[in-house]
């Protein structure tokens, strides 16, 4: 059971703590750090009890900081950097044709390595994409594994062969360790979005925060909702209790939703600075904040 949340935003890192109140427990902001700095990622690393923050300073580049005391104090640590670019190499981005600079522009993904490799972090992951569908490509290329756009992929801790993907064009699930994927077409109120979380002990339970579509990156009908399945995607519930249901235009980015290690507590933060926590698997939500900077990453730890 996790009583603490780390939230990385466009203008700082916030630590949110669960406080036992008289009537009921409340989640409140306990610390605001790196204020004014663009914090693209935060990662609590339970393997060694440290917390990492990735900053993108604009002028001064990307920096990584680490805390060994649960986020009270921070010190700079080594930042992921490209090796020297080989002389004469002409490497270009396939879409724009611009040269690839071999320079770290942004840490937009940060994950722990395996339990057996403490200290190893990943700044990006990839997956096989057989079975995914790219509607933004010509018909003969839509099934091409190399053109897919999986926004976010999560793996069930208890059953690692089951993975879920929120893709640009919908939701996909694998039951064979990401070798192949099948599309889940029952998501309500829409199948577009960025974030996905899977229950650590139940591979059939997963949560999404849908938007209308890639062309309309806002909640359906201005109502913030979380979609939950408990049966591997055969059906979904639309969870709205405690979430704004009128003129709400919060978008949740791919690292903006997290589930704790019990699978009971969830949290998500949005582009318009809202942050909500649930202690009952999404049935009801408590508002933690409504005016944070745009939220990039929410993590229990």
């Amino acid at each position: 059971m996790s009583d603490r949340l780390f939230v990385a935003t466009r203008n700082g890192v916030f630590t949110v703590a669960r406080r036992t109140g008289r009537a009921r427990p409340r989640w409140t902001i306990a610390r605001a750090q790196f204020l004014g700095d663009n914090a693209s990622m935060v990662l609590p690393d339970r393997r060694e009890g440290s917390v990492y923050v990735a900053l993108g300073h604009g002028h001064f580049g990307v920096k990584l900081h680490r805390s060994q005391d649960g986020g009270r104090s921070w010190e700079p640590c080594a930042t992921p950097a490209y090796p020297p670019k080989p002389e004469g190499l002409d490497e270009r981005e396939p879409n724009s044709g611009r040269p690839i600079l071999w320079n770290t522009e942004l840490v937009w993904a940060l994950e722990r390595g395996h339990e057996s490799e403490p200290g190893t972090l990943w700044c990006g992951t990839s997956c096989q994409a057989d079975g995914m569908r790219a509607a933004y490509m010509p018909p003969e290329r839509q099934g091409d594994p190399d053109v897919q756009d999986p926004h976010h992929m999560v793996q069930c801790r208890a059953n690692p062969d089951v993975l879920w993907v929120q893709h640009h064009n919908g939701v996909f699930r694998s039951t064979d360790g990401a070798v192949s994927w099948h599309e889940i077409e029952t998501v309500k109120p829409a199948a577009f979005g960025f974030a996905v979380a899977v229950h650590p002990d139940d591979p059939d339970t997963a949560w999404f925060v849908p938007g209308v579509s890639d062309k309309h990156r806002i909640p359906v009908k201005g109502r913030v909702a979380v979609a939950r399945t408990r049966n591997g995607g055969r059906s979904f519930q639309v969870l709205t209790q405690g979430l704004p249901q009128i003129h709400a235009y919060d978008l949740t980015y791919r690292h903006g939703l997290d589930v704790d290690e019990t699978g009971d507590r969830l949290a998500f933060g949005t582009t318009t600075g809202s942050l909500w926590v649930s202690e009952d698997q999404g049935d009801s939500w408590e508002t933690v904040a409504e005016h944070l900077p745009p939220v990039y990453c929410v993590r229990f730890g």
Binding site: H59, F60, G61, T79, A81, P84, W102, N103, T104
Partner: protein
């Protein structure tokens, strides 16, 4: 000896006091300064050792031309200013 000063906005992240360093080129002068203040290097230069896209270096008031190789010459008593580019607002 050239005199090197860093933009005030950098001091919040990494203390970078003015420093004197010998050297014939911007590269030689800056690398001497960074040798004594290693954390400052990554704030000014990118992964390939070029001046970061939104940073600028001046020698005696003139913006340097070679942002990749930093081969611009520095006079013996030159003043090197490392500043932020005003890019965007």
């Amino acid at each position: 000896m050239a005199r090197v000063t860093f933009t005030q906005n950098m001091q919040r992240h990494v203390p970078s006091p003015p420093a004197d360093a010998p050297g014939a080129t911007v590269r030689e002068v800056l690398e001497r300064v960074f040798a004594l203040n290693p954390p400052a290097r990554d704030y000014v230069l990118d992964d390939q050792g070029a001046v970061r896209r939104h940073m600028v270096v001046f020698v005696n008031g003139h913006q340097i031309r070679d942002r990749v190789g930093l081969s611009d010459l520095v006079p013996p008593d030159g003043e090197v200013h490392v500043m932020q580019a005003l890019s965007g607002g």
